[in-house]
Symmetry: C2
Subunit: 231 residues, 2 copies
């Protein structure tokens, strides 16, 4: 398979959004500001519940959009931590999703990829509105050929129908496309689907034990160039 050759130039590169392009660290900072001493725990539990609810709803075919899932997860996380979430605090935390900065190396890396003529896309659980806001706020307007939201198929990752969106948009086999995610589970499941996956392992986490490994792994997006044959 062509796509299995490391370093070969792909036909396009797809990026996960939150935690991969958009720096979610500020969610924890705001959580700490609103709930002193509980910000770190809240940010972790909020994220866990967001993923859990997205998966349960997909398994049970009970889709609602990612903004609703994210709000539901925040409500549950605050209840579990016995934090009093006013509507104002809720709106501030949810609104932060529309104001996430890019990770420091991301914008220069995306520009370099575009200078190589590489078509770029986002493939995310985020709703179209969430993604549009985040792209604009992070200064990424006009960077992506495709902004693909799970909302189109009313399922969340890691359903194959979501990963299929990238294949359909680029009209190329998954093995000819690179998929980049900071989430180990996302990288593994995209690899199952057939993408050449690059695990942007920012946190230095151990590999997920799912019986499959991403084709590439690094701590910074700058290592993507060698992986994609663009060094």
């Amino acid at each position: 398979m062509d796509g299995d050759t490391p370093g070969q130039r792909p036909s396009g590169i797809l990026f996960d959004a939150y935690g991969t392009l958009f720096d979610v660290y500020s969610l924890g900072l705001l959580a700490e500001e609103l709930f002193p001493k509980h910000g770190a725990a809240l940010a972790v539990l909020w994220r866990e519940k967001q993923l859990e609810y997205s998966r349960l709803r997909t398994l049970c075919d009970k889709y609602v959009d990612f903004k609703t899932v994210t709000r539901d997860a925040l409500l549950h996380a605050c209840a579990r931590l016995r934090l009093d979430l006013s509507e104002d605090k809720c709106q501030r935390l949810l609104g932060q999703y529309d104001r996430l900065p890019a990770y420091p190396e991301v914008l220069p890396a995306l520009e370099r990829l575009r200078a190589h003529g590489m078509p770029l896309a986002i493939l995310s659980n985020g709703s179209p509105e969430m993604l549009a806001s985040a792209i604009s706020a992070a200064g990424m307007s006009g960077v992506f050929t495709h902004v693909l939201s799970a909302d189109k198929v009313h399922k969340f990752k890691t359903a194959p129908e979501v990963y299929q969106l990238g294949v359909d948009a680029f009209d190329r086999p998954a093995a000819r496309l690179v998929f980049v995610s900071s989430n180990g589970w996302d990288a593994c499941c995209a690899a199952w689907f057939g993408y050449r996956t690059f695990w942007l392992n920012r946190a230095g986490d151990p590999v997920e034990r799912l019986g499959i490994l991403p084709a590439g792994e690094a701590r910074s997006m700058n290592d993507l160039f060698a992986f994609a044959g663009l060094a």
Copy 2:
């Protein structure tokens, strides 16, 4: 719908296994014995990863049995916590799943339900071998009319195909059957499927924000009798 009437006698009662019938507390105790000061964190992360892997594999149609998922989750959890898991420690922790005791009120409650002539079943992610060992060790041999494992459909909860196993086994509509789980997510998703669900909320957790509530909730299985019209 008949099944929506609180207190009406159901045609059968299905129980989740781990955390509902079988007391998983001893997993944390053994983890603490093997990894002093890290037992609680390991038990929590192990369980989280076990559920995550079961859901990801179901979403991606990459089934392996629950024993394998449980082992994979343990390996990852130890790696993340930087705990050195020898094969001996691994086997002891996995083997503990075959030796879980019943929660204190469970055996008397099951016997009372049987005295009422109520058909009982287990509906669990656990593999048939895991369930057979746990049933025997907890002194529940002969109690259940059906022991239903997700292994039969090669998917894990909360896939509808798993919940369907109970309907097929009892040959009754889900609304005529009670489903009991200590996991809020399991109770909610079983309610989506159509069961009259009883959330055995042992931990006093806040409700899951999934847009549906279990029909009943209590801290002890003794409250199941009133819910099932058997008080």
